[in-house]
């Protein structure tokens, strides 16, 4: 089997599962309980928070555990907008954000906020001049994703952060769901105020996530109730899930250097091979792109057909992002990059993990070529 759909979700590490089971079975008390059993689980969460903070080079108090990337983005974006609307009602984001961000902004627009959606070039990158020009006195939030989930484009977060910091009223949120453990990013150097991560994208568990909220940043919570997570996120903590996912984060960071190097090689190989297959158009830019995502379109070929044909050979890839893969039609991201309707509709995404091998990539190219010629045969 070749699993090349790691941007949709990853297989949890074995050690991560062991942790999950151990914690579920032995540490089940509610961390808010004051008896000694509650104390034990509270300590586990405390350690997980400390570990996360040290991996991200921030303070433990700046780490909020969430139910995933979608909650993280919703909390950061709506939380800032609703809390600080008296300072201003102007928000900035990009045209290629994940639905969790995009739909949050659409909602805020519907209740009276003014949103600027920055366009991108053919590589999927925003222009820093346009960002600077869009900044206003009443801009309270800028949200830019680090790595795009469909094409892998890396945005100039560091440079953007240096522009945004000149506007003390504006908070800077980064969706780093696809970037974490794949593309280095210093939260401090980029002057990031809020940063979203999701456990199941780095071999942790579904239903877990991390939101970094810089000390001093206030936001209106999405879930109110108990006083968990510094009152920013009420709800009994998913203790086993949190501990397991933090383990996955640590393990991923440990393996990151060689893992990324390997993915880079595979990616380069794939892009090179793909660009030599007649009818195949590579959508992922060669520069400014993450090591784990390769997006391409095949002329005159519905992506679903090709995906199913590959699946018959035990090869798993996807059409753009999983969350929107049900709806047909052109990819919003590829259209924003300037590709035509068909190319944007025919896109297929390969997404890698550290564990994938060059042999798998070679085999993939062979099978892809076979599938394409077979399908072209049928269609002729």
């Amino acid at each position: 089997m070749i699993y090349f759909d790691n941007s949709a979700t990853t297989k949890p590490f074995k050690e991560v599962l062991d942790t999950y089971v151990t914690v579920s079975e032995n540490y089940f008390a509610n961390p808010s309980s004051i008896h000694c059993k509650g104390g034990e689980t509270e300590r586990l969460i405390h350690q997980a928070r400390k570990m996360t903070a040290s991996l991200l080079h921030v303070k433990p108090s700046e780490i909020i555990f969430t139910s995933g990337g979608t909650e993280g983005n919703n909390l950061a974006i709506k939380g800032i907008a609703l809390k600080h609307s008296e300072r201003g009602k102007h928000l900035i984001t990009t045209m290629t954000e994940h639905a969790a961000t995009f739909e949050s902004f659409k909602y805020l627009e519907s209740i009276g906020f003014d949103v600027t959606y920055l366009p991108v070039d053919e590589k999927g990158r925003i222009s820093l001049e346009k960002l600077e020009k869009s900044m206003r006195k009443d801009t309270i939030l800028v949200s830019i994703m680090h790595v795009n989930n469909e094409v892998g484009t890396i945005q100039p977060i560091l440079e953007a952060g240096n522009i945004i910091r000149k506007y003390p009223k504006a908070f800077f949120h980064v969706d780093n769901v696809q970037g974490i453990t794949k593309v280095p990013l210093s939260l401090k150097e980029a002057h990031i105020d809020l940063c979203t991560m999701s456990g199941h994208k780095f071999h942790g568990l579904k239903g877990t996530g991390i939101l970094y909220v810089r000390e001093g940043v206030t936001l209106s919570p999405l879930f109110t109730g108990g006083s968990q997570e510094g009152k920013l996120r009420a709800g009994t903590e998913n203790v086993a899930g949190i501990v397991a996912t933090v383990k996955a984060l640590r393990m991923s960071f440990d393996q990151m250097k060689p893992g990324v190097k390997k993915m880079e090689q595979i990616k380069r190989f794939l892009i090179n091979e793909l660009s030599h297959i007649p009818g195949v158009l590579v959508n992922t830019p060669e520069t400014y792109s993450a090591p784990h995502i390769v997006n391409f379109s095949v002329e005159n070929m519905k992506p679903e057909v090709l995906i199913h044909s590959l699946e018959e050979n035990n090869v798993f890839v996807s059409t753009r992002s999983a969350c929107s893969s049900k709806q047909g039609g052109a990819s919003r991201v590829l259209v924003a990059m300037g590709f035509n309707e068909t190319r944007a509709t025919n896109a297929i995404r390969i997404s890698l993990a550290y564990q994938n091998t060059m042999e798998e990539a070679e085999r993939f190219i062979e099978l892809l070529k076979e599938s394409i010629s077979k399908l072209q045969e049928v269609m002729r």
Binding site: A8, K11, P12, A29, I34, G38, T70, N74, E103, N238
Partner: protein
């Protein structure tokens, strides 16, 4: 030391069969349910099955179940979801003074955003008066949120009567059934319930899981935006293994309901009869007729709850004062204050709550240890 855990209303251990059931969905079946390939189809199918099981447990249809990250999210989604979508019709909400903070704090937040909230009082048994509810209902009331069974004292509200009353009023009826679920028979149609919240970790399911029932046709705005999961009512990659575990917990719970009711009744009887036999001073907090049998809340006059808990803890017994979420703080329980005012009874209340792993023998031990401590401290 061998600990005895009598704090199941705070959270409960995951049933061993539940963990086992979850494992394959963390290992070989790890796909994203939105993916169109085999891995996605496999997990999609699991979600569909889980949805059926959860729906059936409350007499609902599968499409009306929205999986959430827990009870708090379900309560928040219910209240914000209805309030935000129905404000053109009215901005009045009715709830009670004894709700869980997940409802209460959400109501406070809604007040800040321009809604008007009526907090119904309760009597000394923790029950609201139906006449108070009737009197509070207005033309612009859009939502009534009344918990099924209380998490601190176990008192049940007259949900059937409330449902019936609201049948003739356009306001939607939400009930937080986090504590009652699994111990009372719930049929959302018979009871005329429009929205209902559940949490997985209270029924021996995994933490970080839960669901919200939303009757079809209810004007409801999602709380989390993004992908098209949960029929666009709750975005976010689904916690597949957790949801499957939740469904397994629901199945086990449904099979064992009657047996558990009987067991918990016997635990209550045991504790109360030992307290009586030993002649210690205590007051039972809650309703003697309408209650959840897994919760026993008692005040021991003259003994501060903190002191009692420390002593119980030293004796290897994990119990609690108010709800866990407020247990860390020294604030008196809002539930007991609503029942008794700011009296000593409030400051001396201890909650024992029963569940998986408790035996009559252990409960007897808890009672004896309690008596010992009380006798020592009440002197």
């Amino acid at each position: 030391m061998n600990h005895i855990y009598v704090d199941h209303a705070a959270t409960s251990p995951v049933h061993p069969e539940v963990v086992e059931e979850m494992l394959p969905y963390l290992t070989e079946h790890f796909g994203n349910p939105s993916s169109i390939h085999f891995f996605g189809r496999k997990t999609r199918q699991v979600l569909d099955e889980a949805r059926m099981i959860c729906a059936r447990s409350i007499g609902a249809t599968a499409n009306d179940i929205i999986f959430t990250s827990g009870g708090t999210e379900a309560d928040n989604a219910a209240l914000f979801g209805v309030a935000n979508e129905n404000k053109a019709r009215g901005k009045h909400i009715i709830t009670t003074q004894i709700e869980h903070h997940a409802v209460l704090h959400t109501c406070h937040e809604l007040e800040k955003r321009g809604f008007e909230v009526t907090y119904l009082p309760v009597d000394q048994f923790g029950r609201i008066a139906l006449s108070d509810l009737q009197a509070a209902l207005r033309d612009d009331t859009i939502l009534v949120s009344i918990m099924y069974g209380n998490n601190e004292v176990g008192t049940l509200q007259d949900i059937p009567a409330i449902g019936k009353m609201l049948e003739e009023h356009p306001a939607y009826f939400h009930t937080d059934a986090v504590q009652a679920y699994g111990l009372v028979d719930i049929d959302v149609n018979e009871l005329h319930i429009d929205l209902l919240s559940i949490s997985g970790h209270k029924i021996n399911g995994p933490k970080g899981t839960g669901f919200l029932y939303v009757r079809e046709g209810i004007a409801f705005r999602p709380h989390l935006f993004g992908g098209e999961q949960e029929r666009k009512k709750r975005a976010g990659t689904e916690n597949v293994a957790g949801i499957h575990g939740l469904a397994k917990a629901v199945s086990i719970m449904s099979q064992q309901r009657h047996e558990r009711l009987k067991t918990y009744e016997s635990f209550r009887d045991k504790m109360l009869s030992i307290f009586n036999e030993e002649g210690i001073q205590f007051e039972l907090n809650g309703d003697k007729e309408h209650y959840l049998p897994h919760i026993l809340n008692v005040s021991f006059p003259g003994i501060k709850a903190e002191v009692m808990l420390v002593n119980l803890d030293l004796a290897g017994i994990a119990a609690s004062s108010g709800s866990a979420c407020t247990a860390g703080s020294v604030l008196p329980s809002h539930v007991l204050v609503a029942m008794f005012g700011e009296t000593d009874r409030v400051k001396t209340a201890i909650r024992y709550s029963f569940g998986l792993g408790n035996t009559l023998e252990k409960i007897e031990q808890v009672s004896r240890e309690t008596v010992k401590i009380v006798k020592r401290l009440q002197k």
